[in-house]
Every structure is written in C-alpha cells, then in structure tokens.
C-alpha cells in the first residue's frame, strides 16, 4: 500500500514538472522592443520573418534580423498596405540551426517565417550595449517564397516619350552660333 502511495506521489510530481519547451514566454517582436529591459535575460518564443542578410561569422553564429510586422503576412508586393516602418530585432542563431534556410526577405522575396526560442539579451555586457535574441531553437513555420513584380508599362512608355520629346526639342530648337546668348555675372 505504501509503495502504491509512493508511486502515485512520484507520478503526480512528474505531471507538474513544466515541459522545458513551454517555459519560454510567448511574445511578439513589438512587445520585445517595448519591454526590452523587463525581458532581459528571459527565455522567450517569438515568430517572424527573417530579412536582410545571413551573416555567418567565424565564431559559429549567424546573425540576421527577425521582423514581426504586418508585412510578414501581407507583403506590399502582394497588395499589402504601407503601414509604416518595419519592426524587427536582431537574432543570433547557432550555425547548425541554419541549414536549409530559405533566403532572407528582400525585394521580390518573402523570407522564411520562423518560430524561435531563445534568451533575450538586453544591453548585453559581453557585446557592449547590444540587444539581440540568442536563439536556442528554430522552427520554420512558413517557407520563403518569391513575390511577384509587375512592370509599370505606363511609366515606361511615358518616360520614353518624355526622353524622345526632350531630344526632339533639343534638336529642333538648337540655336545657331550667332544666336547664342551671352551671360555676365
């Protein structure tokens, strides 16, 4: 009987041990930027689009930027509205987690949307004054994809016409030598 009680007690203890993967606080990029100091040293999970460049440094880390703004789901190239500046944080990812990552977001490219968990380093003393997320785990939730680009034929035709027009006016109204103006200052 005592053995049964002991086993039941041990089993119930395990039920209450938190799953390490769920210990991280779920936050958004704007929240990290707003609460920077309060979240210093905390483990957080955040989702967003990787943009810019993948900077593979010698020390086994890759640096890039994680954006958590409206353009992640509604890029401007796909009819999204111009809603202001990007909202992003720096992420420092172990190189081994970056295998097979799609190219980062740029023009005509929506970068991979990833879910990362890591420690938020605020004004890190080991990297004087810098703030960034030191990533421990990374999952791709949406792969990167190409964005369409439409040619603005109106602008092309109008521009060409204006250039031709300028050339024609220049040729037709070219002054003869005796007509050249003189200027004094």
């Amino acid at each position: 009987m005592r053995r049964l009680v002991r086993l039941t007690f041990l089993a119930s203890v395990f039920l209450f041990i938190p799953d390490p993967a769920n210990a991280a606080e779920e936050v958004s990029v704007p929240e990290i930027l707003e609460l920077g100091a309060e979240l210093a040293g905390e483990e957080v999970t955040v989702e967003g689009e990787l943009v810019g460049d993948y900077g593979f440094r010698d020390n086994g880390w890759m640096w890039t930027q994680l954006n958590g703004d409206a353009y992640v789901q509604r890029p401007i190239r796909e009819g999204g509205q111009a809603l202001g500046a990007n909202v992003g944080i720096a992420v420092r990812v172990p190189v081994e987690l970056t295998e097979a990552l799609d190219p980062p977001g740029r023009y005509r490219n929506r970068g991979p949307v990833v879910r990362v968990t890591g420690v938020w380093k605020y004004h890190d003393s080991t990297r004087p004054g810098e703030s960034y997320l030191q990533v421990q785990s990374l999952t791709v939730t949406e792969p990167g994809r190409q964005l369409n680009e439409e040619v603005n034929w109106t602008a092309v035709i109008l521009g060409a016409l204006l250039l031709v027009g300028a050339g024609v006016i220049a040729l037709l109204t070219r002054p003869k030598d005796w007509q050249r103006p003189t200027f004094r200052c």
Binding site: G36, V51, Y54, I76, G84, A85, D124, E150, N152, A160
Partner: protein, 498 residues
C-alpha cells in the same frame, strides 16, 4: 519701391534651372542602370519616367535663354531655392510609384529628407524595397550633401557660379575659382568613397560574414549616408543592423569626415596642417563634441540604461557623434531612444542643434557660428569687466587671422536665432497636436538641423501640417535661410511690385 520681375528674369532663372535639371537627369541614369542590371522592372519604369521629366524640363529651361542678361544675386538665390524644391518633387516619382508610401506627400517628404541629408523617413517596409530604389534614396543624400548646384558647377563653367555656390550654404572658396573648388570637393568625396566602400565592404565580407556583393552594397549605401551625414540606411534597424564595433568605427570616421569643412580637408591635404587645430571652428567643435558626449553618458549612467563601461562608451559615443555630425545613424531603436530622458536627451538634442562645421555636409547652427558667438559674448564680458578705455582683442583664427567685426557678429546672431526659431516652430506645432514637449522638440531639432534621429513622431500617421512643417524645416535648414528668403522676396515682388 519693389520692382516686379519681368519675363527676362524668369528666363534667366529658367535657363540656369534647366542646366541643373540636365545634370540631375544625367545622374538619374545611375539608378536607371542599376534597376536594369538588377532586373527590377517596376523601379526601372519609374526611373525612366523621372529621367524623362528631368530631361524635358532641362531642355525647355536651357532653350529659354534670353539674348543677354545678367545672373544677379537675387536670380541666383531663387535658382537655388527653387531647385531644392523641384528636384525632390520629381525625385519622389520613383519613391511613390514603388508602393511603399501611402500618399504622394510622404514620398515627397522622403525625397526632401534625402536631398537635404536629413534622414527622417516615412518609407514603409524598407527591408523589402528594391535595391535600385534603395540606391536612389542614398544617392539623393550624396547629391544633396555634395550640393546639386555643386554638381552642376563642376560641369558648366561659373557664370553666376559664385552666387549659386553661396546660395547652397557654402561660403568657403578653397581654390581661386568656384569650379576648381567644386572639383576639389568632388575629389575629396571620391577618395573617401573609395576608402569607405572598400573598408566597409571588407568588414561586411570578412567580419560580418555577408556575401561579397551584399557587403559592397551595404558599404556603398552606408558611405553615401555617412559621409554626406544623411542617415538613411539600407535596413530598418540602421547601423544597429550590423552588430559590429568595427563597422561602427569605420562609419564614425566617415561621419567625422563629412562633418568637417572642405576647407579643413584642403588644409589637411595640402597644408599647412598645424593651422587645422588652431582654427576656432575646429576647437569649438571638438569642445562641443566632448561636452555633449559627457552630458549624454552621465544621463545614460544615471538612468541605468547602460551599466557597464564598454556599453556606455560605445552607445553614448556613437549616438552623440551621429547627432553632432548631423548624420542620424542609430544603434538603438526609436522606441528606446525615446526613453533616453533627462541629461541623455539634453546631450543628444544639444549636439543635434549645434551641428557640424560650415561648408560641410552637416546641418545645424554650425560650429563656426557657435565659436564666434562664444567669442563675442566673452569679449562683451571682458569689456564690462575691464576699465572703460581698455582694448579687447577681436582676433580669431580661421584659415588665417581674422577679426570679429560688428557686421560679422550680426550676421552670425541672425542665422543662429533663425535656427532657434525654426526649432521652436516645429516643437510648437508638434505640441499643438498633443505630442509631449521633449519628443516634439527632439523631432523638430532633428528636422531643422538635418539630423534624422527620430523618437517615433515621424510616422505615416503623422498630421499633414506637421509633415509640411518638417519639410519646410529641412529645406530652410539645409539652405541656411538666405536663399529661402530671397525666393520669398522674389515672389512678393512679383505679386506686389510695380
């Protein structure tokens, strides 16, 4: 009695503006070519349109030439003021057509901010903007920092050159002719371009681990914005994007180079070099750099935002340098900068307001005016303290020995007061919209002194009137008022003259 301008006056103005537009049209071929090579079809069409508009206006302008006329002072000033209004209007075409702006006024704001080397931006989603468009934004800062007029003066010989040169807020004649001076300025810029792009590109490639082409891209963009103290950046997190003290150091060198007067560059290059540190302007700016840096670091330490020496040094140094040189690069996000209250805010705001050296790419009141003002005040105090008939020396060193005359003091005071009035105007209008004093003043000083640091007031949702006021501040601040007032006087004479 006001004399109304006649048709000949408009023809003269149109002729010179036409020449300048042709130069800008030629410059527009660069982003057009970039878009073509990068196969960015959408921007390509926009740049073609922009180039066409500049070319057509240019040709029409030069064909207006009257048979005989003189480019006098007022003509020159009007040319400068109008050029700096119209070039951003046309230069905004590719920006607006990109879809990254909600309304045309926002695109014009960015074009004006680029050309005046301010750096405040209403661009949405810069992280996904076309590389050719990013190049155009940054190239606008290069063009504006060097001076559009200067660009034109290197090509066409200087009839009217000196008027145009001075109208663009340059008063240093480094070489005997304005054209030679213009070419020297370009030579210094090209040398720094080679150095800057190579150094930043190498750091990006070898230290930061970027691809080589991207390293060079970042290097070129940061050079344009750094040397011309503009402050645009190819990514949304400004210089903070690079997370590299080495990158920041090279950038700092470019910012210092940009904030130095070209006369100083000349003295350093050709000699005499000792005179550099004897100059009132050099001593003033080094002193104000030191003062504002200490003030800011004290403020940051007091608020506990940075608690270690290295972090405090690095962030305080870079932000104050960025503010004082009028660049506007940032290593901290706007939301965090807004939290730099107290002395830190004071230090950065004062640094922005004071500005760089005269005849440089920087904005603000300028260190020569600050130095002369301090000297005038000290002299005044001496005169009061010393016996009535005592003589107080009025000499100062600025590329040679000069004297502080009443006329010079008056001119310095007037321009300085106009800057202060501009700072307060923008702050007042911001406060009228409910923006707190600290933020309203910061953003107003940033716009007027062509710095570009932002605490978040500059946003696509900002009121239109405030947006227009900031644009006016950027324009007037860059041209140091004289050309602006001349143009207003010209318009007034046209309306009310006889």
């Amino acid at each position: 009695m006001l004399i109304r301008p006649v048709t000949e006056d408009f023809k003269v103005i149109g002729f010179y503006m036409g020449r300048i537009f042709l130069v800008v049209a030629a410059a527009s071929l660069l982003p057009l070519t970039w878009a073509g090579l990068a196969r960015e079809s959408n921007p390509f069409g926009s740049f073609l349109l922009m180039t066409g508009v500049f070319a057509l206006l240019g040709v029409i302008g030069v064909r207006l030439a009257p048979r005989e006329s003189e480019l006098d002072w007022s003509h020159g000033m009007v040319v400068v003021a109008l050029t700096w209004l119209i070039v951003p209007m046309i230069g905004a075409i590719p920006l607006f057509l990109s879809g990254h702006f909600g309304r045309p006024l926002d695109a014009l704001f960015d074009a004006m901010s680029g050309l005046t080397t301010t750096g405040l931006s209403l661009l949405s989603d810069v992280d996904h903007v076309a590389s050719s468009l990013n190049f155009w934004r940054h190239f606008l800062q290069f063009l504006g920092g060097q001076g559009i007029i200067l660009a034109a003066l290197t090509i066409f010989a200087g009839t009217g050159g000196i008027t145009l040169y001075i109208g663009e807020a340059r008063d240093e004649r480094i070489l005997p002719s304005v054209t030679s001076t213009a070419r020297f300025i370009w030579a210094v810029s090209v040398v720094h371009l080679i150095f800057g792009v190579t150094s930043l590109g190498l750091v990006g490639w070898q230290v930061l681990g970027f691809d080589l082409d991207r390293s060079l891209f970042h290097g070129l963009m940061v050079f344009f914005a750094g040397f011309d103290t503009g402050g645009f950046s190819p990514q949304s997190t400004s210089i903070g994007y690079y997370h590299s003290a080495i990158f920041e150091t090279v950038t700092a060198l470019l910012m210092v180079a940009g904030a130095m007067s070209f006369g100083l560059h000349y003295a350093l290059w050709r000699g005499p070099r000792r005179s550099v540190f004897a100059n009132l302007e050099t001593r003033t700016i080094l002193s104000t750099f030191g003062f504002t840096m200490v003030l800011t670091i004290l403020g940051l330490a007091a608020t506990g935002l940075f608690v270690d020496v290295a972090g405090l040094t690095r962030q305080g140094f870079f932000q104050v340098l960025s503010a004082h040189t009028g660049t506007g690069f940032s290593t901290v996000p706007p939301a965090e900068l807004a939290k730099w209250g107290g002395l830190a805010f004071g230090g950065v705001a004062i640094a922005m307001a004071l500005g760089g050296m005269g005849s440089s790419t920087a904005g603000g009141v300028k260190s020569l005016r600050i130095g002369l003002t301090i000297k005038a005040v000290v002299n005044q105090i001496k005169q009061v303290l010393l016996p009535e008939h005592a003589l107080v020396g009025t000499a100062y060193h600025q590329s040679g020995r000069k004297h502080l005359t009443p006329a010079l003091i008056q001119s310095v005071m007037v321009i300085s007061l106009l800057y202060v009035a501009l700072y307060l105007l923008g702050a007042g209008i911001g406060m009228a919209y409910g923006i707190p004093l600290q933020e309203a003043l910061f953003e107003s000083v940033s716009a007027s002194a062509n710095v570009g640091l932002s605490v978040g007031v500059t946003d696509p949702s900002m009121p239109i009137l405030l947006e227009l006021v900031y644009m006016l501040q950027m324009w007037a601040g860059r041209l140091e008022f004289v050309a602006v007032f001349s143009m207003l006087g010209f318009v007034y004479a046209w309306v009310r003259g006889k």
